[in-house]
Amino acid sequence: MAKKLQLSLYRFDPEKDERPYMSDYEVDYPATGNMMVIDAIRLAQEKDSTVTFRRSCAQGVCGSDGVNMNGKNGLACITPVSDVITRGKLEVRPLPGLPVIKDLIVDMKPFYEQYEKVKPFLDNEDEVTTGHERLQSPNDRDKLDGLYECVLCACCSTSCPSFWWNPEKFVGPAALLQAYRFIADTRDNQKKQRLKKLNDAFSVYRCHGIMNCTSVCPKGLNPSKAINEIKKELRKIG
């Protein structure tokens, strides 16, 4: 026998609506097992085909279905309803701090612009001297664990108040995690330039260490630690 889940979805179509509003749906919630939040949204969509959301792989790999569930950011496809439900109710909103395109879909442009700023690629113009690849010791490679796995879902950056208030100036946890991924990479030889670019009052130092980013990361990464490592490196270069 299925239980009922009270699902409340954020609705806003800038072409039609003057203001956003919440729509309530009652969806079946399997008593025997569990279901992911994305499944609940899809059940609501079966009742109302105008409900709009973004998803692709539905396995926590593409990072396209980041939403805010009962106040906490996460990927709807890998978040069980039981983890976020409160008194039989689940409220799903778009990621905070980014412009809403429609319903649960946000415009990721401000987020990607910050990502672009940190040059998320190996930058090394020196010639490769051994074979075809730039070699790295296993120890140096280990330093990249926990840095490269980011799926760019924006859950962390959009849970950060500093990013809400200054999305043009503060780089944000996701992009800073990527910045440190290349600062820590021994194959990259632009460490100093990368750090100099971040050495202003906003890019890194706007992070006050509240660790929202770390607590919401659906991949279990720790952007807060990476930001602290960048700060340490910045102090070394003065």
Binding site: W165, N166, L198, N199, D200, A201, F202, S203, K231, R235
Partner: protein
């Protein structure tokens, strides 16, 4: 600049802490509560005047950084528009009013410290 400001904020907080501790410890080891003239004498020594002046300058610098962060975060079109929809045009006015208030506080503080305390007029 970012690193400099970050370090300055932390160093200044240590100076502020040391001053506050000095005042607190003095309060507990000296009988200020029974004889205010002892307090008056202690606070008006040259050493204390220098230390207090340094503390006030550092505190103003420390506070200005924090106040600037508040301005950058909350007195913007985006934030005002979020809290007061349709009123984002007020951001600029509020920003200038906020700056004016801070300047006023600094002027009053400087006046009180320089004339009433340092010069004892």
């Amino acid at each position: 600049m970012g690193t400099f400001l970050w370090i300055a904020q932390r160093v200044s907080s240590l100076i502020i802490l040391s001053y506050v501790l000095l005042i607190l410890i003095s309060y507990f080891i000296k009988p200020y509560q029974y004889d205010a003239s002892i307090w008056y004498f202690d606070i008006h020594t040259i050493t204390m005047k220098v230390f207090t002046s340094a503390f006030l300058i550092v505190m103003v610098g420390h506070a200005l950084q924090g106040l600037k962060a508040i301005e950058d975060d909350y007195f913007t079109e985006r934030t005002i528009g979020m809290f007061l929809p349709g009123m984002s045009y007020l951001a600029k006015i509020l920003r200038y009013a906020y700056r004016g208030f801070i300047v006023l506080v600094i002027i009053v503080l400087t006046y009180v410290v320089v004339f009433s305390y340092l010069m004892e007029l």
